[in-house]
Symmetry: C2
Subunit: 435 residues, 2 copies
């Protein structure tokens, strides 16, 4: 089996995430890819950290040396910033190495140079992690929606700002207080300017604007207005009028040209984007054939960002490994790795349940039903008498905790067998959608 | 410039959408692809329809003849069903033709045979349009999230059912009445069984389950329970308890095996999935590195489905055209096609605005402000006096209709110049997110 060798530049938060992901998901990735990915060298200030996180990898202190190593096929640039990172990326491209980067600032400010050099050297530069973290929205823009004329992109693409705005709305707190809280929780940097004044969102919407409309990257054209001047009164008034305030990155093609801007924005509360809360990100794309699509998920964090970095790496590995047909296997995994697995019968699934029981409106009925459920180990989260119908009949609605379906079915049969129960029990499964 | 030749099987709703898309978006697609796509032959019962929608294409009545034509590189199977479609797809694969299909039933029931034959013949079979219409969720599962172990997939993947459930909730109507309304609007078939009893959602979740967990496609293992037995009382009670009822396709990896099921489900109303209404679709994927991601958009319709079909076609064309490096151009468009375009200055963007004015709480102030806005052509959607502050000061909140930003800024300057106005005007832009 072929091995793709990786050189890792930087072992900070995202670098650590990549190392952990490659450690924990190797088997599944190999089932999909049909080739192996190995970190052969890491550039980091701390040798100890390299030995701890990437014990098989060589330690390098000089990025320019790392990118020239013979045992590096693909360079993952996870330094951040635009000095070291830029030099190392350009050098790597000159050496014919493919690049994966999570560096939005680098691409928003120097993307045109980098992509031009990459074209010249026939090198791939992938950057899914640079926009909206783990959400595969660059892939949607470049590939999934490729048959469309993109009309607009609007996104909640800075988790720090969205956390602050969500808290300001929920608690009515002032910007400064929530910022301090966000800093305490690690959702905001000690110097939060980059996030709260819209620079970070500006880098991301600038990149998406270029991809949407086929223009060079032009961060200088992006209007930036952050959230630090927002008064929680305005958030409250907006809510009374049916709106939420979000920091949006917006780019839109109009007859006058391209709009490219970041600013606090009132959105009708019925829109999905208005309901994206906390540190989560979401990007809404409007396009002439598909209409509106939206992509939601974690916009930052070690593992979500690593998910995007390694997906890019797998995209590159797929072309290096099998450049012609079936770059991606039909069923996502290599044909030899598609394996039948056991399916769980409905009796054995675990779920919580909504039950509606119609029974005589008389003393002791609730207790009887609760007992019959308890007999099968079904515990009750809520039990509410909903309505009294004609003929002295009551409707009882029960929400259960998680249990095995056959227990619920057995309990339902026992309930339906009671004289006081006058109709079949209605059973609807519930999903918390937590995990 | 290279041309990729297409053979189209079927010119129904989706076939028409593909023909229209290729007619309207050719220029943009060629800017992205660097090669041309041409419909060379169409199989349809009506020659007239072929001449009308694909005037350059040859008319074929026999699908098996079409797939063998020398001027067909890729076959788009848009017949639907599993008789003609299956024979034509298998024959095309034997002839070494790549396939794009929107046929969920064909893949859920015969996918294993089709993919095995495709592997043997080194042929690509793409099927983004088979699941969730225009939403690129197959691409997310196979590529965007490839670095993850997928844990669960849960989706609203039948628009007809979701429309009916949304209407039942909103209007409190009975299932039968809403179904009749949906049929009248064209959202439900004359025989709606396939949609409302969960078969269609079952086909789709079966396909996603195989992609998520690396198993063969196994529609027989899918539990199906539709919405026809749902009582609107239960929807109402669920809502009182903070839940919405949705028809979900669910697949999940558990210690006991894989769960694969379609049924009405209570979801907490705060979840994004609970807020997906009408005919729209959404798929939530939970994965071990990225956590929760969600994909939302139109799950059906001629043009959204065509968007997915042609994106697949472009994926195939990219490998046929440039099989080695930079399959997808860095900036989404071919380097020669990346062109600077005019950016709109903030003064010239068009938006609606939220304004908060602090002014003396005295007669005539509202009129004065309204006049100053009208002087700049800014019309008012809502004007509300929000609070009376200390010192006889009132806060006035105004929502404007769409206008040019410089007009609003000019009006704000005029308002701030009034003696009765005692603080800078707060201005926040609004987005309806309609288009």
């Amino acid at each position: 089996m072929r091995t793709i060798n990786i050189g890792l530049l930087g072992l900070g938060t995202v670098g650590r995430g990549v190392a952990e992901l490659l450690r924990d998901n190797t088997q599944e990735m190999t089932r999909r890819l049909g080739c192996e990915i190995r970190i052969s060298a890491v550039c980091s200030r701390s040798q100890e950290r390299v030995q701890q996180l990437c014990p098989q990898a060589a330690w390098e202190t000089d990025p320019l040396t790392l990118v020239q190593r013979d045992d590096v096929d693909v360079v993952l640039e996870l330094f951040g910033g635009t000095t070291l990172a830029k030099d190392a990326v350009l050098k790597a491209i000159e050496c014919g190495k493919h690049i994966v980067t999570a560096n939005k600032k680098l691409l928003a400010e120097y993307g045109n140079d980098i992509f031009a050099l990459a074209e010249k050297n026939n090198v791939m530069v992938h950057f899914e992690a640079a926009v909206a973290g783990g959400i595969p929205v660059i892939k949607a823009l470049r590939e999934g929606l490729a048959a469309n004329q993109i009309q607009s992109v609007a996104g909640i693409i800075n988790g720090t700002s969205n956390f602050i705005l969500s808290e300001m709305r929920e608690k009515g707190s002032a910007f400064k207080d929530v910022l301090a809280e966000a800093q305490r929780l690690g959702y905001a940097e000690a110097d939060p300017t980059f996030d709260i004044e819209g620079h970070d969102a500006g880098h991301k919407i600038t990149i998406m604007s270029a991809l949407a409309f086929g223009t060079p990257v032009n961060f200088g054209a992006c209007y930036l207005e952050g959230i630090s001047q927002l008064d929680s009164r305005d958030i409250k008034y907006a809510e009374e009028l049916g709106y939420r305030v979000k920091l949006l990155g917006i780019t839109r093609k109009t007859e006058k040209g391209i709009e490219l801007r970041v600013h606090p924005t009132l959105i009708p509360e019925s829109r999905l984007l208005a309901n994206v809360n906390g540190v989560m990100n979401a990007v809404r794309i409007n396009a002439n054939m598909v209409g509106e699509t939206l992509y939601y998920g974690a916009g930052a964090g070690a593992l979500p960002t690593a998910s995007a970095v390694v997906a890019d790496l797998m995209d590159i590995a797929r072309l290096m490994n099998a450049p012609s047909q079936n770059r991606v296997p039909h069923l996502a995994f290599q044909p030899s790795q598609v394996k039948a697995q056991n399916f769980v019968s409905m009796d054995n699934i675990s779920s919580s349940y909504y039950l509606r029981v119609q029974a005589a409106d008389e003393a002791g009925v609730l207790g009887k039903i609760a007992t019959l459920l308890a007999n099968e180990g079904v515990s009750i989260e809520a039990l509410i008498q909903k309505a009294v119908l004609d003929n002295n009949q009551a409707e009882i609605v029960i929400l259960t905790h998680h249990t095995i379906e056959k227990n619920v079915k057995t309990a339902i049969a026992a309930i339906e067998a009671q004289d006081c129960v006058s109709a079949p029990v209605t059973m609807i499964r519930m999903e918390s959608l937590h995990g």
